[in-house]
């Protein structure tokens, strides 16, 4: 009975995520970017003037909604458990590299599915790369990888990320002079503020209840043939396909796809790094925000690493344009892979061989 209920929550979350992702793009967010954690992190970094690209500077209420929705539901249902202390600095850097990988592909794992659902075939290489990266991560888990060391920490720490989300939300409404909101480019493209916030809160709350995570869904299936989250993910995909078709946002093909490129090899590698990194820190970028909202201090550190990634992607040109990945982006992906594999082997607990 509990399993059926979990599947239901997962499927409902998937359906809302898929619908929300398409609807927000229809209502004004950039094409195929109704929900994109990495793009939105870059936007928020810009709004805080952590980078200088005004076209990518906006406080996306969806992300604040994810954290606050997760926080409110967790707090209200007694699931707000403040834990941390499991390699926080390592998680910070993995969070950073995950955003670099996403920037080279131009999208987080959720956007990857939204792009696929909108007919963008350049996301196929990304999907294969992500699955490959997760598969590699699962191999490390099976061979003894675990970050471990999670413990209860003072409760105040669990409130910091929701508080940060709340402060950013206040900044969005009040617009103080040190917050920069771009008036052209992707920054100027956004759905009505309250609709975005509402969507973020609902998706955040549902994701907290279901534990929906793009990489977690695939990891659980590869690791134990467990399909609960995968059902949610597939629901998100099919719902997004249906609504993309209904709302006239479906365009099948490789060319003329918004914010995409044809460097499939680098796309594959970038998303492999995202998949591997996400397995190491137990969750895709979206899941890190949800966990940060429910009191996971380590996920909060990963989220801050993602924010730093969102800034440095522009300052160091670590991403891609429609022409393909930059040289720095390629180096970033390779460095991220090296870092992730090194972390994986450093944290392996090897079985002792008998003499």
């Amino acid at each position: 009975m509990k399993a059926i209920r979990m599947i239901d929550v997962s499927i409902v979350t998937g359906a809302v995520l898929g619908f929300g992702g398409v609807l927000l793009a229809y209502l004004g967010n950039p094409a195929n970017s109704g929900i994109c954690v990495s793009c939105f992190m870059e936007n928020i970094a810009g709004a805080l003037q952590l980078h200088d690209n005004v076209r990518m500077s906006y406080l996306r209420p969806e992300l604040m909604g994810f954290v606050l929705g997760s926080f409110l539901i967790a707090f209200g249902t007694g699931r707000f458990r403040v834990r941390g202390g499991s390699s926080p600095v390592l998680r910070f850097f993995v969070g950073f590299f995950i955003i670099v990988g996403c920037a080279v592909f131009i999208g987080c794992p959720i956007k990857m599915f939204l792009r696929l659902a909108a007919g963008d075939l350049t996301a196929v290489a990304a999907t294969l790369g992500l699955i490959f990266g997760i598969w590699v991560g699962v191999r490390y888990i099976k061979e003894g990888f675990a970050l471990g060391g999670v413990k209860e920490v003072p409760k105040i720490q669990g409130f910091l990320m929701p508080l940060l989300a709340l402060v950013l939300l206040v900044f969005l409404f009040v617009h103080p002079s040190f917050i920069r909101l771009g008036q052209k480019g992707p920054a100027a493209l956004h759905a009505p503020l309250l609709v975005s916030l509402f969507a973020g809160l609902v998706i955040g709350a549902l994701a907290q209840r279901s534990g929906l995570c793009v990489t977690g869904a695939i990891r659980n299936f590869i690791l134990a043939r467990e399909k609960t989250l995968l059902n949610g993910l597939l629901t998100a995909f099919f719902v997004a396909v249906v609504f993309s078709l209904l709302l006239g946002q479906f365009n099948l093909g490789m060319n003329a796809q918004p914010a995409s490129h044809l460097s499939h090899g680098w796309t594959f590698l970038a998303m492999a790094m995202v998949g591997l990194g996400s397995v190491l820190i137990d969750g895709c970028p979206f899941r890190q925000l949800i966990k940060a909202g429910q009191g996971d201090v380590d996920a909060g550190m990963a989220s801050l690493g993602m924010l730093m990634g969102g800034a440095l992607v522009f300052l160091w040109f670590l991403g891609s344009t429609s022409a393909g990945p930059t040289f720095q982006g390629k180096v970033g992906v390779l460095t991220g892979l090296i870092f992730s594999v090194a972390a994986a082997i450093a944290f392996r607990k090897r079985a002792r061989r008998s003499p």
């Binding site: 950039p30 094409a31 076209r55 480019g185 992707p186 493209l189």
Partner: protein
């Protein structure tokens, strides 16, 4: 809560109140000083002035183009590119002149360079927007070079032209860039 806790909470509340009042006062003062509407108008005026200055700068090129003196226009543009390498408008004019001469591939390549330098050409929210004109040229190029690719699949020039076409198609499609 002992006396130290109570004192700390009171101190936090007091400090928070002072900080919020200071911030509110500062923001209100700043907003009065630079009213967003007038700041927006100011930015718009600066943009219009820039567009006007560019028009003057490229006056001769535009005249050559209208008179059909394409060689003169090209020579002038080469000089402009050397003198003002950051001016993306040179590549727009270059594209237009090449288009008049029937050199579709080269024209598209120069439009691409212009868009790479300044995204405003494909951003509907800016006065520089010329997405519709670019789209027409790109559509023409896509048909032409797809046909040519079928005939000469290994031709490097055709491949490059198609790459430029696809690049511009992606930029015209929008998204997070």
């Amino acid at each position: 809560m002992d006396w130290l806790d109570r004192l700390s909470v009171a101190a936090i509340a007091g400090l928070a109140l002072i900080t919020i009042s200071m911030l509110t006062n500062h923001e209100m003062h700043k907003k009065r000083q630079d009213d967003p509407a007038s700041a927006g108008k100011e930015a718009g005026r600066a943009y219009s002035l820039q567009v006007e200055a560019d028009k003057k700068l490229y006056q001769q090129v535009a005249a050559f183009r209208e008179q059909g003196r394409y060689a003169d226009a090209m020579a002038k543009l080469e000089d402009m590119i050397e003198r003002y390498p950051d001016k993306s408008l040179s590549y727009v004019y270059l594209g237009q002149v090449l288009l008049k001469q029937g050199k579709l591939g080269a024209a598209i390549h120069n439009y691409r360079r212009a868009v790479e330098m300044d995204s405003d050409y494909v951003d509907k929210r800016t006065p520089r927007f010329m997405g519709d004109a670019i789209k027409t040229v790109v559509e023409e190029g896509r048909e032409k070079f797809a046909r040519e690719k079928a005939l000469r699949p290994k031709d490097k020039d055709v491949q490059r032209a198609l790459k430029d076409v696809y690049y511009l198609q992606r930029r015209l499609a929008g998204g997070c860039e």
